[in-house]
Amino acid sequence: MFTLAETIMPQIDQSLVDLARWIPALPALALLINGVVFAALKPLRKLSAAVTIAALAGSFVLSVLVMLGLGDISQLHGGITVHCFEWISIGDFTANFAFFIDPLTCVMLLVVTGVGTLIAIYASGYMAGDPGYYRFFAYIALFIVAMTLLVLGDNLLLLFLGWEGVGLSSYLLIGYYYRKLSARDAAKKAFIVNRVGDFGFALGLMGVFLVFGIIGYEGLMGHHGLADAEHIATLPAWKQNLVLWIPFLLMLGAFGKSAQLPLHVWLPDAMEGPTPVSALIHAATMVTAGVYMIARLLPIFQLSEYALPTVAIVGGVTAIFAATIALCQFDIKRIWAYSTVSQLGYMFLGVGVAATYGAVFHLFTHAFFKALLFLTAGSVMHALAGQLDLRRMSGLGKKMPITAGLMLIGCLALAGFPFTAGYFSKDEILYQAINSEFGWLGWIGVLTALLTAFYTFRLWFRVFMGETKYEMSNEHHGYAVDHPLDDHAHGPHEMSWLMNGPLVVLAVGALVFGVWLGGKEGWMMQMVEHSSAAVTSHASHDAGHGAAASHGDDHHGPGYVSHGMVGAISGGGAVVMIVLAGFFFWKRRDLAESIAAKLGPITKIFENKYYVDEAYRFAIVLPLRALGWFFYLFDRVIIDGVVLGSISWAPRIAGALQKPGQNGLLQGYALLMALGIIAVLAVVVYAVVL
């Protein structure tokens, strides 16, 4: 295998690494230009796409340079910190605006900036003519800034900054077509569910500070970092059981961001945003932040023995759960959304069973082929003026051969067709999972892989195969226009090369990366094993530093399945499912309909996403709102009415009592006076005299 870094740079070249400061700076500059300058100067708005693409490309180049700057990965231990300025520090709490560069960071940077640039190029074509053009690219630049900060951050607080920044940009981008009510609500839902995740993350972060006193990766996970067993032993008891809780809190944040089971509801709705957004944020980069976080903080997660297994279980269950839903959806983007949730489940499963190499590798490949799938779906949508419903289109292959071909490659990678990128990364995860203590999760993973293959090609065959008939929708740049747009799109047509170019690059990536970067001594393995995400021994019941892969062949526990065997099963299964899907959805569509009808109730449940949204609505949203009304009422009636009322009425009542006494009658007053005198006299007499 060709390992890129090893040959060129034997030693760490600090000057190159310092370039990392510019990675977030360039998109920030683009954001400033787009947001302020172009907002003011209308004529320059055409340039906004160019500015953002240039910035992203610049960042990509810088990322590569930084990676090269790291020199020979194998000699590298720990990461390099590039300090910018002191962000927040008071008392003994310090959070610097500093970047921690290590191989894992480089991998993530490459994904973010690489895929980001490609998608930006595609978007410049896709969004052409949209009134909010400059605004779109400003948000894209904001997203890349936030994502790079998230990945580069040297401490948990900077990670948190990136975390919420990404949440904000996804809010803005989902709600890009803000005049659509559904887009607005989807954006709000996304941000709030992310905020629920961030709530857990924040508490976890504070827990880390409370227990360890610092939040920098270096201090925690460095060579003599605090996050290791014997240091924990020295801590007082109450801190030790707090350590058990921290991973679960951080996990809540990861699940929120990466749309895992309890908090997955926002991702399908996020498809309201423009397709490039769905591709970039909700497929390739943002949703993987959760995986990155757990990979980065693995030593902390390993401190409590129940954390990683929980991650694995949640990942596995989400995978199968999302796959079943995707099976019955009819909206192309929703299918890909659920497939993303499912693939993320895989990654979490990988991380959960301490196969970080598998998880990161799958993350890498998934970014490419899922982006490819989304963008091709975008092309189809663009061609049919916003039509996404499977039932209203078929046989577009003849009209859009290139898009069909590209989507085929993507589907093959997603389905895990042998020797595609998806196959290698997914196989690695399944292999690790099967041979970890949670073997049954591994087999669930295999089942999900088969389901994935089936629904992927269900979509492909229905859209591109069969006799060509289609119905145009009436959306123009996201907003429904009153008349169907025959004149504009004149039926499905091939996209311009501006849009198809990046797709080809992605397609090549989807095919080649598996072979090129995978494998034992592959580039990816090198990168992961020498980062802080390297799996230390006790997690995967095997001594020795790092090298999870090396444990494979020396001794076999019971029920051990060799690597090759797993590959064969998943690959073959995928092929069989593809053929099956072809049979059902290409040749005998009527048969598919009849089976679906017979399985009525089950498909109905799948179709309605297990009614999770409705459940959340009744369980949380409505009670909270009712509580809000009650408090508001309480505020006005009780506090204002009763409390203040009683206080303000007291003097008034006292006054009223006096009134009858002053009735103007002469004798009345005389009588009162006399009584007064008598009272005084009585007091004097009885008290004094006697």
Binding site: Q662, G664, Q667
Partner: protein
């Protein structure tokens, strides 16, 4: 005739107090303006009796001198009061004290 000195001061005080109290009761109870003023005069009587009794039993004549002043006051008050009563009577043709209760709180 029994000796004059058998009558103690308390005797007179009792009578004076009784007169004064009856005057007050009358002042408060009766509704006829004139009778009210008459009762004030009655209270004067009670006071005068007590004054003289004290002056007699304390051997100085300030008390009695004071009675003279009481008399002048009573006379002046009677003059004015009755003038007013007549005036009020002219206005509302009644002597009822409750007719004049406009000044109320």
């Amino acid at each position: 005739m029994e000796t004059i000195d058998a009558i103690t001061l308390n005797h007179y005080l009792l009578t004076g107090a009784a007169l004064f109290t009856l005057g007050m009761i009358g002042f408060v109870a009766r509704r006829n303006l004139i009778v009210i003023f008459l009762c004030t005069e009655m209270m004067f009587q009670g006071i005068v009796l007590t004054l003289v009794a004290f002056s007699r039993y304390h051997g100085n004549f300030d008390g009695q001198a004071f009675v003279i002043f009481v008399l002048t006051i009573a006379a002046a008050e009677a003059a004015l009061a009755l003038g007013l009563v007549v005036y009020l009577y002219r206005r509302k043709n009644t002597l009822d004290a409750e007719a004049w209760s406009d000044m109320k709180g």
